[in-house]
Amino acid sequence: MTDQLPPEQPPFDEAEYRRRQRSRANLMGWLLGGLALLFFFITIARLVGPK
């Protein structure tokens, strides 16, 4: 028989799942922190700076 079996799904990798979740959560945290700072500085710049 030359029929090929359908390709099997790779086994679920929980460690990789956790790593990606952690990596995205970390990134999201930094981004939100950065944006909070950016919006704070924009507000200050609009209040006091030349435009």
Binding site: Q9, R20, L38, F39, I42, R46, G49, P50, K51
Partner: protein, 303 residues
């Protein structure tokens, strides 16, 4: 509707690197640079924080356009060697995530622009995203070989947006810079299309070399290069820039036209390595960077 993919839903959450790749970072670098030049060449001064935020908003808007373009073209990308490794056709990202990411990023970029700058720049940014996604990606690209010519307007917006973010109004110089990118786009993309022609043919995209043939494309590259050169030099005799930009534009455009002549008059045989086309494509990128750098240099250090 997005092209459906044959891959199953990925079990793992999307990696941030794939989301970043969705924004077409290399294209974004040119967008950011030309927008920054538009902003820096504008009269008056902008608070550095507001300038940074405006450029960030333009970059995010460009990233959103890239993401929505890749979402819509995932099926086509899978057929082309050059794009098959992108996150969506490679199955590393599901279309729903890409769509949500693109729409979210577009909305945020507009909000940031409105908050940091003015409504005029926000309107232009919204127009550029809508034009790129709906007019270029969904309407023109799959239908006409003139896709690049008209669609070039989408990539020409950044210096105009940068200028308007700084001043709140449109002036002749940023319109000429818009025109420069608009006229630069056909020779730039058709040089690329000549050496990845088989890719476009496989995906059924009606790029000029696929529809009109190589000879016609080469002539049109030369034709557009000549008009572009005139458009690039125009700000100098019209009095909107000084000699520093003028001479840079003359020399750089002369080289561009020479490289285009090389491409325009040659014929290729089997197994041709397409070196003149690759050279023109690489030079065209440097050309735009240098010319826009010269606009800023000319504004700050006039001869």
């Amino acid at each position: 509707m997005a092209q459906s993919l044959t891959h199953g839903e990925p079990a793992l959450p999307a990696d941030w690197r794939d989301l970043f790749a969705l924004t077409k970072p290399r294209v974004m670098s040119l967008v950011v640079f030309t927008a920054l030049c538009g902003l820096l060449a504008a009269p008056g001064s902008v608070h550095p924080v507001l300038a940074f935020s405006s450029i960030l908003a333009i970059a995010l808007g460009a990233g959103a356009s890239g993401a929505l373009n890749q979402w819509y073209e995932a099926g086509l990308d899978a057929k082309m060697k050059r794009t098959a490794g992108r996150p969506l056709p490679a199955g590393r990202l599901d279309p729903q995530t890409a769509l949500q990411f693109g729409v979210g990023l577009a909305a945020f970029s507009l909000f940031l622009m409105l908050f940091a700058s003015n409504w005029q720049a926000t309107l232009l940014l919204a127009g550029s995203i809508v034009f790129y996604v709906f007019v270029y990606t969904m309407w023109l690209k799959p239908r006409t070989p003139q896709n690049i010519v008209i669609g070039g307007a989408a990539g020409a917006f950044p210096p105009l947006i940068g200028w308007v973010a700084a001043t709140g109004s449109i002036a002749p110089l940023p319109v000429l810079l818009f025109l420069l990118i608009f006229l630069w786009t056909p020779p730039h993309f058709w040089a690329l299309a000549l050496f990845v022609r088989s890719d476009y043919a496989a995906a059924g995209i009606p790029m000029m070399p696929v529809v009109a043939g190589e000879t016609s494309t080469r002539r049109q590259i030369l034709f557009y290069a000549l008009i572009m050169a005139a458009g690039a030099i125009a700000p100098w005799p019209l009095g909107y820039t000084g000699a520093l930009y003028g001479w840079t534009a003359v020399v750089m455009s002369a080289v561009f036209v020479l490289l285009s002549i090389q491409v325009g008059i040659r014929t290729t045989g089997e197994g041709d390595t397409m070196q003149p086309e690759k050279r023109l494509f690489a030079y065209s990128i440097a050309y735009l960077f240098i010319l826009f750098g010269a606009v800023v240099a000319d504004h700050w250090y006039p001869l």
